[in-house]
Symmetry: C2
């Protein structure tokens, strides 16, 4: 679904991030959900190098991306946005009450049980690189991540997706979380997780969302120089 | 709503935790939601000192508490459980689509934007107390927490609850998250957050849930000795 500046749905995104973060900013999550649901959307681009405009805190109290706006509601938190987009999209959230609750369970497991440890590693490797605490702490964080991945691998077993043979919003969220440790080799010992992540990323909606996030980054003089 | 061993709803909890953690284990969240909804529930108590029974991983893949089971579904993740309990309880999730989405937003903000930093502080102060990395890292984590609390305070302003004048599942979750830094003095400079947390904790449903969690802890010879 192409980005459409006139669409009633609007998300926020950043106008640029360093190469290592391109394709990993959290607006990827609503973009992917909107692609799965076939809903066109507009983008409010925020200048990554500037202070957030004061009015942005009205739509995202923590100043982060993404926010979400449509004819009925203004939201933030990528998890809540994906659940809202999924409300009428059976690909994301099955109509069956129990299956819908399980999809929500996996979405929140991604955000609250898996992502916090992966974010600690990102802090250590990027924002605190070279600091003594980061050097001392890294092995402990790697161990915690591995414990989570081991449990996740056991839960997935030989299924195609976390709740069985159909993709849900829970898989969307878990995939974006697992992508945050790309290139670190942490997933490699869990071959079912590697195949699962590849299976989710092969979805046309994911590919379209990824391309759209990257297409929205602007060329920057400071980088081209 | 008293705990009822014959109730069709069953959650899991621990049979004991150290005093500093009593009243803070995450089964408090579904207990509180069930009290708000007026739904009786049974408790599967897990021995905190033993390995989790193998069958427990079937209901909670990461081995944590709480899990949740009713006539229609087995779930885990306290956030997903509270959303499921709230589906027919207007106190927790308003029927209006937009208000419901905003309540969900605040619930996920508690779990994904606020709690991860508070959990890092718990790791530093309890599980890694005395370690060099923890000593070096603590000021940075305190700073991150304070930034989040400042934004949260700005978002709350003079409202009674995060989305206005009515309590929702978002407030339930945010209150349980903010309680995890009780006694550290971090909330004190935000008088509206202090009053907000007290307002939520004054709810009879919260008080009943707290009493029920503590009542379920068993006396232990090792502690009484």
């Amino acid at each position: 679904m192409p980005v459409d500046p006139k669409a009633p749905v609007r998300i926020s995104a950043l106008n640029w991030v360093p190469v290592f973060a391109q394709g990993h900013v959290r607006d990827l999550r609503p973009r992917w959900a909107l692609e799965e649901a076939g809903i066109p959307y507009a983008v409010r681009k925020l200048d990554v190098m500037a202070e957030r405009p004061a009015d942005y805190y009205e739509e995202q109290p923590f100043g982060q991306v993404p926010s979400y706006h449509d004819d009925t509601v203004s939201l933030f938190e990528s998890g809540a946005i994906v659940l809202h987009i999924g409300r009428d999209c059976e690909t994301l959230l099955p109509r069956d009450l129990a299956a819908r609750a399980r999809a929500t369970t996996w979405l929140i497991a991604a955000l609250n049980t898996v992502e916090p440890f992966l974010m600690q590693l990102a802090t250590i490797d990027v924002f605190a690189a070279g600091e003594e605490w980061a050097r001392l702490r890294r092995p402990g964080v790697i161990e915690m991540i591995d414990k989570r991945l081991a449990r996740l691998s056991d839960a997935l077993r030989e299924k195609s997706y976390l709740d069985g043979e159909r993709f849900t919003a829970g898989d969307l969220m878990m995939t974006t979380v697992l992508r945050s440790i790309d290139g670190k080799g942490l997933l490699d010992r869990y071959s079912n997780l590697v195949a699962y992540k590849a299976r989710c990323q092969a979805r046309p909606a994911f590919q379209a969302a990824l391309a759209a996030q990257i297409a929205d980054f602007e060329e920057r003089e400071s980088v081209r120089a």
